[in-house]
């Protein structure tokens, strides 16, 4: 491999950072949407990635073309998310934050063990088609196509989502509910519809992330959703839980931070990278207890 000039190295790392940041951002939006209207931190969001990836994998094995298999996977994630809302979260709506958080913990344990039971705990190769697996080279610069596709897909989805949230009636009611649930209810907003929409969109996004993530990593296993959701979690906290622009911002910041740490930490410390990320998160929370774009309402202290 020929060595890179500093500029090329920078571009390479920047693309890396933005691509991983896009994936985190897509995940974090799903979390933020649900948190915004329900005050629920949905841990099980990561397992939707797993469900989507397995569905896509099995469809591919069954001989379905990749486009359809991927869409099938995304739909499977969406349906699982809706089911989750109906069976586990709707009955406890309005419970304490902690109770809801723990319920999502339980849903995670449930889904992961179901995955182990049904799909076998060992990992399987996820064979993405060529266009997701190739790399462009410009001189010494090498850019994976999946990175580019992740950036583009995330860009398109973010634009669509912004349009949906700001311009449609459902999107507006969603924002209303996240501001004040009771008042929106009194204004005649059908909050069940809003909840279902939020879960639906969030879960579909998780499905998209599942396909991108699996194509990037190349293999899938029942516990694969864990690290992505943890990262998305960090991203949405950085941005301010419940704030959707915050989630996107947090996702990109986290992606850049990770690649940056990878680059500047001495080799002996790189295994500790995730530790540093969480350390930075805790320090950030000290100074901005509600995240970067979170509401500045002074709740405590």
């Amino acid at each position: 491999m020929t060595s890179l000039t500093p500029l090329e190295f920078f571009i390479q790392q920047a693309i890396n950072a933005i691509s991983i940041g896009s994936i985190y951002a897509l995940m974090a939006i799903g979390l933020a949407m649900v948190f915004g209207i329900l005050r629920l931190i949905n841990f099980a969001h990561g397992d939707l990635i797993m469900v989507g990836s397995y569905a896509a994998l099995f469809l591919t094995i069954a001989g379905v073309p990749f486009w359809i298999a991927a869409s099938g996977g995304i739909v499977a994630s969406g349906l699982t998310g809706l089911l989750m809302e109906r069976l586990a979260y709707r009955p406890i709506r309005g419970a304490q934050d902690v109770a809801m958080l723990l319920t999502s913990f339980a849903v995670t344990i449930f889904l992961e063990n179901m995955g182990i039971l049904l799909f076998n705990p060992s990992s399987r190769p996820f064979s993405a088609p060529n266009f997701l697996n190739s790399a462009f080279t410009f001189g010494a610069l090498r850019v994976n196509s999946v990175d580019v596709i992740a950036i583009v897909v995330a860009g398109i989805l973010l634009v669509l989502l912004t349009f949906f949230i700001t311009r449609t009636e459902l999107g507006t009611s969603m924002r209303a509910v996240s501001q004040d649930l009771l008042a929106s209810r009194l204004m005649g907003i059908n909050i069940n519809r809003v909840f279902v929409t939020a879960f639906g969109i969030g879960s579909l996004l998780a499905g998209v992330v599942g396909i991108l993530w699996s194509a990037r990593v190349g293999k899938i296993d029942p516990l694969m959703g864990f690290y992505p959701v943890l990262k998305a979690f960090v991203a949405s906290v950085i941005g301010g839980l419940g704030s959707m622009p915050g989630a996107v911002l947090g996702g990109y910041i986290l992606g850049i931070l990770e690649i940056l740490l990878q680059g500047i930490l001495p080799a002996s410390l790189t295994p500790f990278r995730d530790g540093f990320v969480f350390g930075i998160l805790i320090v950030l929370l000290l100074f901005r207890p509600n995240g970067l774009l979170g509401s500045t309402e002074k709740e405590k202290f």
Binding site: R39, V98, L102, A106, V234, F278, K300
Partner: protein, 355 residues
């Protein structure tokens, strides 16, 4: 405050009765049952310590920690490194600092050092995150758990990294775990019933009111968090000397979830509830684990389904939150005083006299 006069006596009586029952049980289990049963009881004692101490910080001050298992890991590894026989140390952990390489401590000091270390970490961590609220505390403590895990997995010279840490001497027995259980419950009970405990509950129930009464919220939360971390680390040490070989993976989310399930099942904010939750869930998971290997009901037989017990536990947990979110005990405590007419009468008389 109508029970004010009765409470000290009833608490004492209830406590003494429970300790007597508990010691009797330990004697019976130690001499009268199989080693399988003894192992379950030791595991149960460790769970009780974990749940009761989690309850102090989560149930009494309302700061919900998802990272307590991190303290358990600190206690387990610290104590295990200190008690590891010198003959094994050279082979297992050749890169230890010289003073550690030549140190071997008995069980009790090693456990205490583990506890104090966890307490110091809790002090540092707590001083920063105790200002946060609700879900943010959960996230930050979860971050702490991940940090602990990353350090344990990568600090090869101290922890053998991701490899199994084995050769820990089997010091933990019925007596050690039993005595530590009683000490934990006693200390936390006294703390919860002291004026500190009242302040903690005041913070939990109404933050702003508590603050305006002049309660130092940060200090109370820190106190609860540190004491809780100490006992959690003690449980970690007991566990390490019980299971004897373990790796950092043991201290992650499955363990976290099982402790939280016990806490919720028993009732957050009730110490006796924590004990009941730990006992109930331990029995339940033992039954489920046996059932997992396959059941034969005469004409119908269920094939073994591994992992089913975890799935069932998760379902039970969700049903619990839906139908009985306050747990078995809620915030109440067990009270046996009405079983003893004498103390009851005496309390009554006093109450009348004081009026």
């Amino acid at each position: 405050m109508q029970n004010n006069e009765k409470r000290p006596i009833s608490t004492l009586v209830t406590g003494l009765i429970l300790i007597a029952i508990f010691v009797g049980l330990l004697v019976f289990i130690n001499f009268g049952t199989s080693s399988y049963m003894q192992r379950i009881v030791i595991g149960l004692c460790i769970s009780i310590i974990l749940v009761v101490s989690l309850n102090l910080s989560s149930g009494f001050t309302g700061v919900f920690s998802l990272g307590h298992i991190g303290f358990m890991a600190i206690g387990a590894y610290t104590a295990a490194i200190l008690t590891l026989p010198l003959s094994l140390k050279g082979a297992y952990l050749p890169d230890l600092p010289a003073w550690l390489e030549t140190t071997q401590l008995p069980f009790l000091p090693a456990t205490l050092i583990g506890g104090v270390l966890a307490m110091l970490v809790a002090l540092l961590l707590g001083a920063s995150i105790m200002r946060l609220t609700g879900p943010y505390v959960g996230v930050a403590t979860l971050g702490f758990l991940v940090i602990v895990n990353v350090i344990l997995t990568n600090w090869d010279s101290m922890t053998r990294g991701a490899r199994t840490f084995s050769g820990v001497p089997p010091y933990t027995n019925i007596w050690w775990s039993g005595v530590w259980t009683i000490v934990t419950i006693y200390v936390i009970w006294r703390l919860a019933k002291s004026s500190y405990g009242r302040q903690m509950m005041a913070i939990r129930d109404n933050f702003i009111a508590a603050q305006s009464l002049g309660i130092n919220v940060l200090r109370m939360r820190l106190l609860a968090f540190c004491v809780s971390a100490f006992f959690t680390a003690v449980a970690g040490s007991l566990w390490a000397h019980f299971i004897q070989s373990f790796s950092p993976k043991a201290f992650l989310f499955v363990e976290t979830f099982s402790i939280i399930t016990m806490l919720i099942a028993g009732g957050m904010g009730s110490i006796s509830g924590s004990v009941i939750g730990a006992v109930g869930i331990t029995i339940l998971s033992e039954v489920l684990r046996n059932a997992e290997r396959g059941i034969s009901l005469g004409f119908i037989s269920i094939p073994p389904v591994y992992g089913a017990s975890q799935i069932l536990m998760a379902v039970i947990f969700i049903l619990l939150i839906i139908f009985r979110p306050e747990g078995i005990m809620g915030k109440r405590e067990l009270d046996f005083s009405h079983l003893i007419p004498f103390t009851f009468k005496r309390a009554k008389r006093k109450e009348v006299a004081s009026q």
